[in-house]
């Protein structure tokens, strides 16, 4: 993917936020035990994680990356960080990077913030934290013990300079109008901007020229199965920023309602099942860092020239129609019959109706039925084997 291929190799290769970058380099150059950790604040996709990675590389540190889900409780923090903070020589020269610290809040915080603050007060290794916003109360206490560096959105023309350099390196051609459109739509998110451009250049160009993020799930699933190459499918999949549960369900319902061979169906359902198990693990232990592997599993669903298209419901249309219209009639029938038999409607539907239909079919007895239910009963009797 272009966003990986053209990732800056050093801090000086990045664009925008020049003063912030210089401040980070200076902080690293002057770092000694006890130096206040850094808190990088800014919107997603403008290089906070990239600069942490590059700084570690440039200054010879081994970066230990954590995110909010790793630091929810005191025990988790101590388990992960104590060996690093206490035994530096064994673990080389570690540097700790905690991403999305503003994500630990409310009920998800089991003492994590407090434990983290205690560590931040006396750092023995360089520590960098990143947050999208620093306005919450929890962030106020973190801000007190850190040095804040604000990352601002990058001016769009500078983004254009960066993007056109990538396009030039790739030997691709894209109209200036499309470049401007991509930049406007990415709203300063560099990763999303590069992904969108690659999608356009490699042939997948949604009719609206909108980013995948703004496409609904239907367009995303259809684009995935219509992709010409695995890479294209991967871009579509990675760019579908929707709830993972929704993503799995959408793939499941689209697959089970499509006309594909039994072997393909079996393989695909196996993949969906793997994805579901992973999601179950994430939810059970709140290990959100595992989420990054979800797309790596779902990409196995890609098969060229498959007829699968998005379907919201996991039942076929004929069955859905039957459930809707016949279900309504059965409900009405059960209401009438339940009154006559002095039982509940659900008891009638579950226990009485099958026997009633069976008796009627075998002409065991003649039951006076309202005319309007005749057709329904006929239809149901036909279904009894």
């Amino acid at each position: 993917m272009w966003s990986e291929k053209h990732r800056p190799q050093s801090i000086s290769e990045m664009v925008g936020n020049e003063e912030a970058r210089a401040a980070i380099v200076e902080w690293f150059a002057k770092w000694k035990k006890g130096t206040k950790p850094l808190l990088l604040v800014g919107p997603p996709g403008i290089g906070k994680t990239t600069i942490a990675n590059l700084s570690a590389k440039q200054f010879g540190y081994d970066m230990i990356g954590l995110n909010a889900s790793d630091v929810r409780s005191k025990a988790q923090i101590n388990d992960i960080l104590s060996p690093v903070l206490g035994n530096v020589s064994v673990l080389g020269t570690p540097m700790i990077f905690v991403d999305e610290v503003d994500g630990i809040h409310g009920r998800s915080d089991y003492g994590g913030t407090e434990a983290l603050i205690n560590i931040l007060k006396e750092p023995t290794v360089p520590m960098i934290l990143a947050a999208n916003s620093d306005s919450s109360d929890k962030m106020k206490s973190i801000k007190k013990v850190t040095k804040s560096i604000v990352f601002r959105p990058i001016p769009p023309r500078l983004l254009r300079l960066y993007l056109e350099n990538i396009i030039k390196k790739e030997g691709a051609k894209i109209s200036p109008g499309s470049v401007i459109k991509v930049i406007d739509e990415s709203r300063g998110d560099i990763r999303s901007m590069i992904n969108m451009t690659q999608s356009m250049v490699t042939g997948f160009n949604p009719s609206t020229e909108k980013s995948f993020e703004t496409l609904n799930i239907e367009d995303g699933i259809n684009a995935f199965f219509k992709s010409n190459t695995l890479d294209e499918a991967r871009i579509v999949l990675y760019s579908m920023q929707i709830d993972p549960r929704e993503k799995i369900i959408a793939f499941y319902s689209s697959i089970v309602t499509s006309r594909i061979s039994n072997d393909d169906m079996q393989n695909m359902l196996q993949v969906v099942s793997e994805a579901d198990i992973l999601y179950g693990k994430i939810m059970k232990n709140q290990e959100w860092r595992l989420l990054r592997y979800l797309d790596a599993i779902l990409i196995k669903l890609y098969k060229k020239d498959t007829s699968i298209r998005y379907n919201k419901f996991n039942l076929s249309w004929p069955l859905l129609n039957r459930l809707r219209w016949d279900g309504k009639n059965i409900k009405a029938f059960a209401t009438v019959m339940a009154k006559q038999m002095h039982i509940s409607r659900s008891t009638f539907g579950t226990f009485y109706l099958p026997y009633l239909l069976f008796c009627l079919k075998n002409k065991q007895f003649n039951f006076p039925l309202e005319e309007s239910f005749g057709e329904l009963v006929e239809k149901e009797m036909e279904l009894i084997k």
Binding site: I11, S12, E13, V15, G16, N17, E18, E19, A20, R21, A22, V25, E26, F28, A29, Q58, F151, R152, P153, I154, P155, P156, R157, L158, R160, L161, Y162, E164, N165, I180, I183, D184, G188
Partner: protein
């Protein structure tokens, strides 16, 4: 719409920065719009990272989608943008301005 420079008779709130404008302070007033600080009335321009001059934001193709107050304050002007190797020029200039990035 014309903005009139007036010494404030009453305290007001600047429509740009939302800060108070005190009595006797100079403010710019327009009927039906309100008041703003003299400083806030200046047209904001980003700086060109290559030539060091103004980036020419008012003529920029992205003017409608660029929040000049919020974005990183170094950009590139049209002239420097149109030059050959503009990206390399930008990087070189930034390295010169921020020596520490070469660390």
């Amino acid at each position: 719409m014309s903005w009139r420079k007036i010494p404030m008779k009453f305290p007001g709130t600047c429509i740009v920065c939302n800060e108070k404008i005190q009595i006797n302070e100079i403010g710019l007033w327009a009927k039906g719009l309100g008041v703003k600080h003299e400083k806030c009335a200046e047209v904001k321009e980003l700086k060109c990272g290559v030539c060091g001059g103004p980036a020419g934001c008012q003529q920029c193709e992205f003017i409608e989608n660029c929040d000049l107050e919020k974005v990183s304050q170094i950009c590139i002007c049209k002239k420097c943008f149109d030059q050959k190797n503009s990206f390399d020029n930008y990087q070189e200039s930034i390295k010169k301005q921020f020596h520490i990035l070469n660390h």
